[in-house]
Symmetry: C2
């Protein structure tokens, strides 16, 4: 055996699953388990997996390994895994950091298929730990076994009562068997989810604590469980993204099977990002890039913890929205509570549906109150079985209804038959109707249980309910397809880069060379001439050169120097030069400012461009994000992108369709959309430019590129300035991670 599950193709993992106890099966459905390093003290952490498996009734065989004793907590102990008289599927190493490697060797010798490791002190603890971790991975890969952790609190399969975890929350007497799998970097979170889920009558199918995911990452483990018929979808708690390609593959396979993937990701703030680094030795990325990456990979990212376990039930019903308007009609018996949900939905940009005329008339004829505006308030008078059932049935059967949310008042708590039964009956009798969401205002565990058993998505938290509905109504992402042999002249660009002498000229291409590359992509640049090694004393000769080049005034004069990529900040650009006498003044002003900032010999010449006039400016760039790889960003021009963080980001490259979506997200681009009677900007041309620039991420050698500004006109866009940073032969996409 010599396979690396981290990078194993999906086919392999699936084949293995179909065999008895391939890695997916051995991970969550082992027949024989070894617990390595269980203490004889039943209060110690290491005793928990055994105790929990016993408590919940695991039917497989468990062997305890402890070389120091004959028996441990009343069970026979074996000195090594090798000594176990049985073929072990899954071993959980509960030993301290220093003993892990030897235990792994033992497992490998014994032919164990999956090894999970509890100890910390590896990659997250600095260089030494990182080296230790690398050795573990190497050994696991060589042996072709699946390794979970280190820093893993274990693996749980509620349906097989395999509760192989050190997390104290699994002491619960009521381990609910749900249909979603939890994959979490954090071990404590699997307990948090089980405990908080229980209160809302929500359980899980499998739970895996991945810790440092040194070898098997979220993507790999997800793929190994992708066809599990006991799993309807995945719940992820992410501290980082260690293997985005594998993750993308997993997410896309889940999407193909209509299995929603819902994620809560740490690092919503910069401080949170710093923490992921110190906590599990992970890298951090730009949270906006990660957000865009997740969305593009069909992952529903949630912002609130409750939504992580409450949203999945609703997202399973996404198909029922097909052909329906993307809005939600809110029905309630209690105005204040209903208004609260409408408010929280609207804050999240959800469209609230209103009753159409015929429905309103129907209710009026039946003397059912239904409010006047955006809230269908049947009032306390309408809190009766037949009225609620009538209203819900009618609305479920209207094709003009998007989704339907019912806010249940105080009776949800003590009169579930009254408040909940009409909902359940209406849903039962109107299969194929509009999807329905229930939200009881009070804490109402009985009602929640009744609704859940009837398959009605029900929420305990107001914000979680609003957030889940917002996700439900938003499209579930779309993986952007860019053909590999697109219209981009990769070869020509690569040639241009090869000619750049990195050693003497640094890694930032000057404007002239950058412009050439942008022109190779078919982008429009202003008519311009470059005067290399220009002697400022010899300005007069330029009059003829400008005339010969047929440049029309007004002109822009710029200094060219790789030492000054941000030349505007140093007075290196003079705009609106109206004639040759202004030109002379401009040149002398340029040199006097610039020579304060940079030695004259570093000035490579001056660039003379025709001045461009348009409707406004944009910025477009590509760069490498630590987590998700190459990304493309577009922002409003001037100071807006920076001051207002008015930027849209996507994993690069992007199609022009995705580029159009990006443009729609930039608020500053309002001025190009006919704002206050202004002429409209050519945003199609801008989308094409974004797509083309984004494809530079595929060119070997380009590390970063920025076009700033792009002038947006009513017919087309013109690139006014741009820079490309190259590195030694590594493209953005090929950067090792």
């Amino acid at each position: 055996m010599n396979e690396d599950f981290r990078n194993a193709p999906l086919e392999l993992i699936n084949t293995k699953r179909s065999q008895m106890l391939g890695p997916g099966k051995a991970l969550v459905e082992p027949k024989v388990v070894a617990l390595v390093g269980v203490s004889d003290n039943p209060k110690k952490l290491s005793a928990r997996p055994f105790q929990f498996c016993q408590q919940h009734g695991f039917s497989g065989k468990i062997y305890i390994v402890n070389p120091r004793r004959k028996t441990v907590i009343g069970e026979p102990a074996y000195p090594t895994v090798m000594a176990i008289p049985d073929k072990v599927d899954h071993a959980y190493i509960l030993l301290g950091n220093s003993m892990v490697e030897a235990a792994l060797d033992d497992c490998i010798l014994a032919g164990v298929k999956v090894v999970t490791i509890l100890a910390d002190g590896f990659a997250e603890a600095g260089k030494l730990g990182f080296e230790k971790q690398k050795r573990l991975v190497k050994k696991a890969n060589k042996a072709g076994i699946m390794m979970i952790g280190p820093n893993s609190m274990g693996v749980v399969n509620t349906r097989k009562s395999f509760v192989c975890t050190t997390n104290a929350a699994f002491k619960t007497q009521n381990l609910i068997k749900g249909r979603f799998a939890v994959l979490s970097h954090s071990g404590s979170l699997i307990g948090t989810l089980v405990s908080r889920g229980e209160v809302r009558n929500i359980g899980f199918s499998k739970l895996v604590s991945l810790g440092n995911e040194a070898q098997s990452c979220i993507g790999t483990v997800g793929l190994s469980l992708i066809d599990d018929t006991e799993i309807d979808g995945f719940i992820l708690f992410l501290e980082t993204l260690r293997n985005p390609k594998r993750f993308s593959k997993f997410a896309s396979e889940a999407n193909k099977r209509n299995k929603p993937v819902v994620a809560y990701m740490l690092g919503k703030s910069e401080e949170g990002q710093e923490l992921s680094v110190s906590h599990t030795g992970a890298l951090t990325g730009d949270s906006r890039a990660v957000k865009a990456y997740l969305k593009q990979n069909y992952v529903d990212e949630v912002m609130s913890l409750d939504a992580l376990f409450e949203a999945p039930q609703l997202l399973l019903q996404r198909e029922r929205m097909k052909g329906r308007p993307k809005h939600v009609i809110v029905v309630t018996t209690t105005g204040g509570g209903g208004a609260m949900l409408v408010d929280q939905l609207s804050v999240r940009g959800v469209l609230i549906g209103e009753l159409n005329k015929s429905v309103r008339e129907y209710f009026q004829k039946k003397e059912i109150p239904c409010g006047t505006g955006k809230l269908v308030d049947v009032t306390l008078a309408g809190a009766q079985y037949h009225i609620m059932k009538e209203v819900i049935s009618k609305l479920m059967n209207e094709p003009s209804t998007g989704a339907l949310a019912i806010v249940i008042g105080s009776s949800a708590q003590f009169n579930p038959d009254l408040a909940v039964k009409p909902i359940i009956d209406a849903v039962k009798e109107n299969v194929g109707g509009a999807p329905l969401i229930a939200f009881p205002l009070p804490s109402a565990p009985k009602s929640i249980a009744m609704l859940k058993s009837a398959g009605v998505p029900v929420f305990g938290g107001l914000e979680s309910c609003a957030e889940s509905i917002a996700l439900f109504l938003s499209s579930s992402g779309s993986c952007d397809k860019i053909s590999a042999n697109d219209d981009l002249c990769v070869g020509a660009v690569e040639d241009a880069i090869k000619n750049w002498d990195l050693s003497t000229r640094g890694e930032v291409l000057d404007e002239v060379s950058s412009t050439k590359i942008f022109e190779t992509l078919g982008l429009r640049c202003p008519k311009q001439i470059f005067i290399p090694d220009f002697d400022e004393g010899n300005v007069l000769g330029l009059e003829e050169i400008i005339a010969t080049a047929q440049l029309s005034y007004p002109l822009v004069v710029k200094v060219v120097s790789t030492a000054l990529p941000h030349k505007s900040d140093f007075g290196g650009v003079v705009l609106d030069v109206k004639n040759f006498s202004e030109f002379k003044i401009a040149v002398s002003r340029l040199y006097s400012s610039i020579c304060k900032a940079v030695p004259k010999k570093r000035i490579e010449g001056i660039l003379i461009q025709e001045m461009q006039f348009g409707l406004g400016e944009a910025i477009v760039g590509i760069r490498l994000d630590n987590l998700v790889g190459p990304v493309v960003a577009v922002g409003a021009g001037g100071l807006l992108a920076e001051i207002y963080k008015d930027v849209s980001i996507r994993p690069a490259p992007v199609s022009t369709d995705i580029a159009r979506n990006m443009i729609a997200e930039v608020r500053g681009f309002e001025i190009f959309r006919g704002y206050r009677g202004r002429p409209a900007g050519d945003l199609n041309a801008l989308a094409e430019l974004i797509s083309k620039i984004s494809k530079l991420s595929r060119v070997s050698g380009i590390a970063e590129a920025e076009v700033n500004p792009v002038m947006v006109k009513s017919d087309g866009v013109v690139l006014l300035d741009g820079l490309i940073r190259i590195n030694s032969g590594k493209s953005l996409l090929n950067k090792p991670r």
Copy 2:
């Protein structure tokens, strides 16, 4: 008796409270209660107040009024309140809309002190209902009684078991006696709070459902309870603000007594605002104005429902932050969970405290792990009584500690003694130390109960915990003091307005008249001349006029017409006129554009100004908000205020100090703060201008004013254009509501 409690002075209400059964006492501690209109059917809504009072053991006397029966649900019934052989303190009218007025008459005749009304169909139901409601108020005022509702689900005093409500949630067997009073526009919400609070072991002292607050508003009821020793603070659920002056008075009196006021306000979205209108016939205002109003009145506004009942316990400890840095140190045994809280705090702008060198060394010496960055992660190894107690005690006693948040892992659920005891003991032993907040990751009702009994603020919701800490660390507002006889020449401004002929010239002052008023305030305007009744054929004569007025080129030429307040949109302004020949072209261009938009006779003349150059522009305006009254707004100039909604709002008038805070909130003003090496703008001068403009809200006759743009220079600000809208003698402040 002839008093109106809606506007009664505080002294009166307090005097009455000190008498036995003044309105505050009769409201929440009546000795004798009448329930008017109880049905004999025990399942009907109207039977609930009686049932709840019995269930919870109300010791006062309850009389039931029902003219149709001798007995009702087994109790003797009286035909009228008048017929009751006892002095009734508080009557709850449970009858339908059409019978309410007669019942109120009955109560008044019987000398009842407080009348609460359940029925809906009043102001929220249109004109007829509004008229009905007005009659009730008139009668209640004339009789000098306190009226709650209509549309009120009643009044509850948990400590006296006075559970006089129709809300089903009060059927609970476990009505917790808390120390905060709930005042809610929505009746269903008092049940929601009781029910959701119960799960977190949080109870309330008094709960009042105010409904339409036709007579007694939140402010009045709050004032009547302000000195109640069983009330530590107030929890408000607001759908609108009906009487801001009264509300301000209440909030400021609560603040004086260190009683926090926490509010959840509907209308966080425009849709939510529309709903408050349809739901209780309320007005809506600009949500940003309301937010600023609440903050300025010491009210802590929360965005999440959980925080509404979880934040108060923490806010009570605000005094303990005195002299401490405004940060929170997060301590945890579980990295993932701790990081989640840090992340949610940082998203809300909370500063995370780090260990200082000496503390870090102290822990290292004791071999206690404490992480490296922003999270004090003692790891699972540190999850022991003596370690946790040591860490908490040490940090509580450091003067460099701000607040301290402890994230408790899974052991909170099944081992509260282990996880919770060290916290409780450390808090007990270190009185006067840094305030401490506990957050158990799992659902852990036992731990929550233990911590709460020990007086430790503890949170069940992650987001609610983060939001509450953010509120706790923010300053609690500051009522702006503007002296009445400030430097503003109110008289001069009023005179200027009086000269404006409303009937012929409309309510918008032209630029020339507006400018004069702004100059009266001492604001700087460009040097300018106005040419009235200007004949475009007679341009030549102007050359001399411009010279005589000593205006220097470049100039700005503007058309003056009250018919065109937004003249720029119609080509009514020409900038950068460099000499007289350009001037002639400008004037002809002006007239040709303008004459398309407005008849020539409506053009009052042209205004010629010296062109101003500066660092950027701002917009300042005052207007009347429906809810909070006059407000002043400042925004970034150009399109920024509109596109990015980059505007700061406060109730007007404001001092220059508050104006400076407003300026700090406008992101676009970055460019005046030395952005990228630019010269700094004179933001002190801008603050003075904002304060002066804001004082126009006190001038009788001014309905609205806007200065757009203000040019910000490095020395001073110049007002380039401005408009004032007047109305018939009513100032912003005097507008009736």
